[in-house]
Symmetry: C2
Subunit: 125 residues, 2 copies
Amino acid sequence: MNMSGRCAGCKYLRRRCPSDCILSPYFPSSDPQRFASVHRIYGASNVAKMLQELMPHLRAQAAETLRYEAQCRIQDPISGCVGVISQLHQQIQDTECQLAKTRAEVALMNSDGQEPPQAQADQQI
Amino acid sequence: MNMSGRCAGCKYLRRRCPSDCILSPYFPSSDPQRFASVHRIYGASNVAKMLQELMPHLRAQAAETLRYEAQCRIQDPISGCVGVISQLHQQIQDTECQLAKTRAEVALMNSDGQEPPQAQADQQI
C-alpha cells in the first residue's frame, strides 16, 4: 500500500500501512481523532494486540467500545466510563424509587375498598 | 527504597521502586493482580502518565476506575465495561416500562370515577 493510503494509525505513527494492517479497517484516515483517542489511552500496540486476539468479525465492536472508553477517559480522567456507570446506577435507583411509590399508590387505591376481600387476604399472608 | 519494598508495578517491571513512585500508593505489592490487569490493558507507562496528569488526591479514584475498566476488558474483550453500560441501559428501560404500566394502572383507577372532574379536564389539555 502506498503512503497516501495509510490508515489513521499508521499515519499517526508515521509508518507504512501493510495490506494486512490490523488497525486499518477500524481506524480510517478520514477520522484521525478516533485513532488519536485510543492511542492516547491504550497506546497503538495495546490496541493492535487486543484486536489481534479476537476473531475478525468481533474486532469492529471491540474497536468501537475501546474508542468509547478512551473518549470517556479523556473527558473524565478520574472516572472514565465508570462515571457513566455510576450515573446509570443512580438513574436505576431513581426509577425504582418512583416505581415503588407508584405501586404503593396502586396498593393504597386497591385497599380503598376496590379490591375483592380474597385478594386483600392474600396480600396479608 | 530497597528491592524488597517495591510496589507491584516496579516488581512486575523488574525495576527499582523510587521513593516518589507514581504507581506505588495505588498498586501495592500485596495485590500483584491489580497491577497486572491495568498493565495488560493500558501498559504501565500509560497508567503512570494518566495518574501523573491528575492532582494527587484524585489519583486513587483514577487508579481504581482504571483497574475496574481493565478487569471488565479482560473479562469481556469485545465490549469491556461498555457491556455493563448496555446491561444498565436495558435495566433502566425495563424499570421505566414497569413504571409506565403502573402509572397507566393508576390513571385507569383514577378515571373509574375517583378523580375530580377538574383534574380529568387538565389531563385532556
